[in-house]
């Protein structure tokens, strides 16, 4: 699990380029950014609103707020549970401080943003995870927000779409994090029993306890190209089998080939594809304009 992989600092120099070409992609605040796909430094504005490298078409990771903006119809997103705040079940040293600094950095209360919105004019519940918040790990708040989102969708007979981006369970909350896997999965099961649609969109990275719970439970599972998706971390597997793994291992394409993803969708096409899927499952069989 890559819970605490370091992010590149803003404005990396040419020298730094060589040393951490494998580091986590993210969009820092500087003018230029280094692409972790091709290692080239590109102007930030050249990435465009979809945050794609103009040189090699590598996808930069994007935060939850930005993803909501890209996905939901303009001004339709109503956020749920804005003020929920993690406590510290293990009394893990400095956990509260960590949460606080992450909240300040990302502007969200934990590693998922949840709410309802319209996509292509159709009402849906939407949850978006943020890999920038303690590696998108799932603790009490993530588990509770997603569970409530499922319950809201079930009660209001709405579909739900979840964008996953997570290193897995939040280690700092111990067994309480493990229990979130069962809690969310049970809520997903209730939603499913009500005959409602659940779509997951796997983005880079989706691993560990999130893969082993709600990420793999969608009626339809989409993925962005080349996203890392797996159960165990690459390092752990390499240590277990004492071999190097091929590059494409645990990529979206690998999962598609092995039958665990329905479709790989390019970032710029996601809103349209989601609109189409929602339309297929719209109970009235037509668009609900307004």
């Amino acid at each position: 699990m890559n819970l605490f992989k370091k992010k590149p600092l803003p404005e990396k120099t040419e020298k730094a380029k060589k040393t951490d070409s494998k580091s986590t992609p993210a969009v820092p605040d500087g003018m230029c950014v280094k692409c972790s796909g091709c290692g080239k430094t590109v102007y930030k504005k050249e990435l465009g609103e979809n945050k794609i490298c103009p040189e090699c078409f590598h996808y930069f990771r994007i935060g939850a707020k930005e993803r909501v903006k890209m996905t939901a119809d303009k001004n339709t997103f109503e956020e749920f549970d804005k003020t929920m705040h993690a406590l510290n079940p293990l009394n893990y040293p400095e956990y509260e401080e960590k949460i606080k600094s992450m909240q300040e950095k990302t502007g969200i209360n934990d590693a998922v943003l949840s709410g309802k919105c319209k996509i292509g004019g159709q009402e849906t519940v939407l949850c978006v995870m943020d890999a920038g918040f303690i590696m998108g790990s799932m603790g009490s708040v993530v588990g509770e927000k997603i569970t409530r989102a499922f319950e809201y969708a079930t009660e209001n007979k709405l579909p739900i779409i979840i964008f996953t981006a997570s290193g897995g369970a939040r280690m700092q909350e111990g067994i309480v994090s493990l229990m979130q896997m069962a809690k969310v999965s049970a809520a997903a099961a209730k939603h499913s029993q009500a005959g409602l649609l659940y779509v997951t969109v796997l983005t880079d990275p989706t691993t560990g306890g999130v893969t082993a719970s709600f990420a793999m439970l969608g009626d339809i599972i989409l993925s962005e190209p080349k996203a890392l998706i797996g159960f165990a971390g690459r390092r752990v597997i390499e240590q277990t089998i004492k071999q190097k793994l091929p590059d494409e291992f645990q990529s979206a394409e690998f999962l598609l080939e092995h039958g665990f993803v329905d479709k790989i969708v390019e970032r710029e096409c996601l809103p349209n594809v989601l609109t189409e899927i929602l339309r297929f499952h719209n109970r009235k069989g037509r668009e609900t304009n307004e």
């Binding site: 893990y92 909350e173 999965s185 209730k190 893969t211 165990a232 089998i241």
Partner: protein
């Protein structure tokens, strides 16, 4: 006074009081610790083992089948470790592949069809991490079990008899009652893994074990489990029939209580059992 001295010089020497979390980790992992099949053979009668996931293969890290608890037909499933290296290689050290979880789900669905209560015995350091496991969807297999177990229309009791390691343990422990043997541990990850991820230093495993709240006592207090089954001093291997008989009595009582509930109540209570977990404010 004399007795205390006598105790210290004899039994006390051999069987030190074990209380710290890292001591429990050691006991839970002992190769002599009784395995799932031993409990199954002791507690139930007429066990018929059923094999395979009807899809890929038979995973020997997971055993399951049908048996009687006194007169009641039940489905039993366990994660099986071995006592010797040879046995452990055969059982993959109790680390199931996806097909193991899928075999378990097949047997649980069968139990639902024939209205048999389900009893699972959990003992794994975690689901297997390997190429085949990823290719065949380890994450999906675990997720599917969590999803399906939440709604299985028969009573389920899970007993953690050794290690309860992460999602690989939870995949057989979404139950109406979750119990632990006194010296078992149940955790998000092994203490070594926890120390390695959070502190980049797996040698701090002992410290991690104390911090993580992984003992039966801790977890009972947190409501993660519902009952602790006593073991002989030093671990269940020192008096197997004591623990196994105790467990049998508890299972008999609990199964008869759970089967007397109507299904909707049972499912609602199971949902609420897991719904309550979370430590947050608003």
């Amino acid at each position: 006074m004399y007795l205390q001295k006598y105790y210290d010089s004899t039994i006390g020497k051999v069987v030190k009081p074990m209380s710290s979390a890292s001591d429990k980790v050691k006991i839970a992992r002992k190769v002599s610790r009784p395995t799932a099949l031993e409990y199954i053979n002791h507690i139930f009668t007429g066990f018929i083992e059923l094999h395979g996931d009807r899809n890929f293969k038979d995973d020997k890290a997971v055993v399951g089948g049908i048996a009687y608890l006194n007169e009641t037909p039940v489905t039993v499933i366990g994660i099986q470790k071995g006592h010797t290296t040879e046995e452990n290689i055969e059982r993959n050290f109790g680390s199931p592949h996806p097909e193991g979880y899928r075999k378990a789900l097949r047997l649980m669905k069968q139990a639902e069809k024939f209205k048999r209560p389900i009893i699972t015995f959990v003992n794994t350091s975690g689901a297997y991490c390997g190429v085949g496991a990823e290719e065949r969807g380890q994450g999906e297999a675990i997720a599917r079990n969590l999803f399906e177990m939440a709604n299985l229309k028969v009573p389920i009791i899970s007993v953690i008899i050794g290690e309860g390691g992460s999602g690989g343990a939870l995949a057989l422990a979404v139950a109406d009652r979750v119990w632990m043997l006194e010296n078992s541990v149940y955790s998000i990850l092994s203490p070594e893994g926890f120390a390695s991820i959070l502190w980049r230093d797996s040698s701090r495993a002992k410290e991690a074990a104390e911090l993580m709240k992984i003992t039966a006592e801790n977890l009972l207090e947190m409501g993660v489990i519902d009952k602790v089954i006593k073991e002989a001093a030093g671990g269940a291997q020192n008096d197997f029939s004591f623990t196994a008989n105790l467990l049998k009595t508890r299972l008999e009582n609990e199964i008869s209580e759970l089967t007397s509930k109507d299904i909707q109540t049972l499912l609602k209570e199971r949902y609420d059992r897991f719904r309550k977990f979370g430590d947050f404010t608003e």
